[in-house]
């Protein structure tokens, strides 16, 4: 139990780093790290399929997208970069204190919570659930991927066309 809690603490620290660090590239790395840690958390909770998805898609694919956005959009000048960094630091420095205070405060709460009766044997295998009960969601996935493909066609082709 203590190890699991520590893992969660590290997860929050990674997310904190992602939101506080100075360059976009490091923030992206922080997010990838948080994502990878989340997938370890999910794995240790028994959600193996979701953990694998999280690792490959979120920590992998999304990081690639974010890194390329960060590298394609360089800041205009060093001075401007430093100025925006300062103004951001002014606003973000209380965050770690807030998180620590919030964590400590919530750790004292032990009010009883009415959770539904736990199924002793679980509710079956995730693949069965996904393929035989949630087909509509699978259809939704295909559909949103189609929408995304159309979006890539529009948003990125527009880019190329206007550069000419």
């Amino acid at each position: 139990m203590i190890w699991f809690t520590l893992l969660l603490v590290v997860l929050v620290l990674a997310a904190l780093w992602a939101s506080m660090t100075t360059t976009l590239l490091r923030a992206t790395l922080g997010l990838a790290l948080a994502s990878a840690l989340l997938s370890v958390v999910m794995f240790s909770m028994g959600a193996t399929l979701a953990a694998a998805m999280e690792l490959s898609v979120c920590a992998g694919l999304i990081s690639v997208v974010l890194v390329s956005v960060a590298s394609l959009t360089r800041p205009r000048s060093i001075q401007e970069e430093i100025a925006s960094r300062r103004s951001r630091l002014r606003r973000i420095w209380p965050l770690p204190l807030v998180l620590i205070a919030g964590g400590v405060a919530l750790s004292f709460v032990h009010a009883p919570v009415d959770i539904v009766l736990r199924l002793p044997a679980g509710d079956g295998d995730v693949r069965t659930v996904l393929w035989s009960m949630r087909q509509l969601d699978l259809f939704g996935q295909i559909l949103i991927l189609l929408a995304g493909a159309l979006g890539v066609l529009v948003l990125f082709r527009k880019e190329a066309k206007d550069d000419d």
Partner: protein, 470 residues
């Protein structure tokens, strides 16, 4: 049949991309045909009777577990009508074949999303289809040529993700409190007064308020509508926002809240605040589309307010107002597109006296405005009357008074819009303005006729629209 409403548009998009590039002009008409069939299906058979022969094994294979009732029929009918209007507007306002082709495809994807929302019985699938529609719409906005399309698209998708976070958190609480995420499970949890289930429901409602642009989450809507290209704003204002925010609220009020007090109070307060704030913001606008956008916010407040009234009458009134507003508001956006195409501007203060030069546009927009403002015998009058009756039956007299008073403000801003744009002295500046081309007038006239016909034949129409559902 209900499965086909999802599959046909989806397959059509895939097939359209297999066509050779020269044949792309056909895309718009394919989409138009599908939407016409959809509207016809909604009017004629109400879905249940076609489930024979070939379709039964298909449905078994797919296992989508869809269900249709009067409410789904209503949304599907609106989607068909508004979609057809938007496609006709696109035909005259988007310049290249490729833009029109893309528009048709994205509309079809969004239509699958909306049809899905109309028929699901599960909160997570509802979320999935809301998200599909949002992504397709964002791309539609961002694909435009206007100056602010990216800003509008950014605000829309940003708020959309925030709404998703709220809805997914809510689903977590539903899992904890009821062990399921279907509408039935939610109803059972709420009926048992489980505190976690109420937290979950409150979060889900908040997510839908963001989606439906209820005050105080309304900021994104005016920017997105104003920035969007003309046909996209017809489509968004007519059905997208309504389906993904307001219809989902209708569905939840109908099948989970069951008239329970805490839920009703949330809906009443949010609805009333939205009506008033939206109406007063609309009064101060000088951009044609922006004024219509704030008017939309205010009118969607009416739908939410109705849900807080007497359960059965409220849902009937909300559904009817949903339909009326979808028809009239998409028509007003089509009118705005006609004006913009002639003048090249949407600034109301620069306009004046256009009524003499664009008589059809002026006449149809007067019909839609007066209907939304609730003047008898137009369709909007009946739905507002039913909303007020629903509140009266539930003994919510104060909220009924708000509804009546706010409709005066509605009348005020629409009259000011009409006066500034169409009446008064014809300005020299617009001497060259002509009536819009037939392609843009057809949707406006058709939708105005629907408004008039529904207003006059109201008792009969009510039976067709909501006969089985409410």
């Amino acid at each position: 049949m209900s499965d086909l409403l999802l599959l046909v548009p989806f397959v059509a998009v895939v097939l359209l991309y297999l066509l050779p590039k020269r044949a792309r002009a056909v895309g718009l008409w394919v989409a138009f045909g599908i939407l016409a069939l959809e509207a016809a299906a909604a009017v004629l058979d109400r879905f249940a009777t076609v489930d024979v022969g070939l379709l039964a094994p298909l449905e078994k294979l797919l296992g989508f577990h869809l269900a249709t009732d009067g409410l789904s029929g209503l949304v599907i009918l609106c989607t068909g009508l508004v979609g057809m209007a938007a496609l006709l507007v696109a035909r005259r306002t988007l310049e290249s074949v490729n833009e029109r082709f893309l528009f048709a495809n994205l509309v079809l994807v969004a239509v699958v999303g909306i049809n899905g929302m109309a028929m699901v019985r599960d909160l997570f699938s509802l979320y999935v289809f809301v998200e599909v529609t949002a992504v397709a719409t964002v791309i539609l906005v961002a694909a435009g040529r206007g100056d602010h399309v990216l800003e509008g698209a950014w605000k829309y998708i940003f708020l959309s993700v925030v709404a998703s976070v709220l809805m997914l958190t809510s689903l977590g609480f539903f899992l904890l409190s009821t062990g399921g995420i279907t509408l039935d499970a939610a109803r059972t949890g709420l009926a048992a007064n489980a505190p976690l289930a109420w937290i979950a429901m409150a979060l889900f409602l908040c997510g839908l308020f963001v989606k439906g642009a209820m005050v105080p989450f309304h900021g994104w809507l005016a920017d997105a509508y104003t920035a969007a290209p003309a046909p996209v704003s017809v489509f968004m204002a007519g059905i997208v926002t309504k389906a993904s925010g307001i219809f989902a609220l209708l569905r939840i009020a109908q099948s989970t809240l069951g008239g329970a007090t805490p839920g009703r109070e949330i809906l009443l307060v949010v609805g009333a605040v939205t009506i008033v704030v939206g109406a007063f913001l609309a009064l101060t606008q000088t951009n044609f589309k922006r004024m219509l956008a704030y008017s939309s916010i205010s009118q969607m407040g009416y739908i939410v307010l109705a849900l807080g009234g007497d359960l059965h009458l409220g849902i009937l009134a909300a559904g009817l107002h949903f339909f009326n507003h979808a028809v009239s508001k998409s028509q007003l956006f089509a009118n705005a597109a006609a004006v913009e195409k002639q003048l090249g501007t949407l600034d109301i203060d620069e306009m004046g006296g256009l009524g003499a030069r664009m008589p059809v546009t002026a006449g149809t927009s007067a019909v839609a405005s007066l209907s939304i403002a609730g003047l008898p015998p137009l369709a909007g009058f009946w739905s507002k009357l039913l909303i007020i009756l629903a509140l009266w039956n539930a003994k919510e007299y104060a909220f009924a008074a708000v509804a009546i008073l706010a409709s005066l403000v509605t009348l005020a801003y629409f009259l000011s819009l009409q006066r500034k744009v169409f009446f008064g002295k014809p300005l020299e500046k617009w001497a060259g303005a002509r009536e819009a081309s037939a392609g843009l007038l057809v949707p406006a006239v058709a939708l105005a006729l629907v408004t008039i016909a529904l207003g006059i034949g109201f008792p009969f129409a009510l039976r067709i629209l909501l006969g089985g559902g409410a």
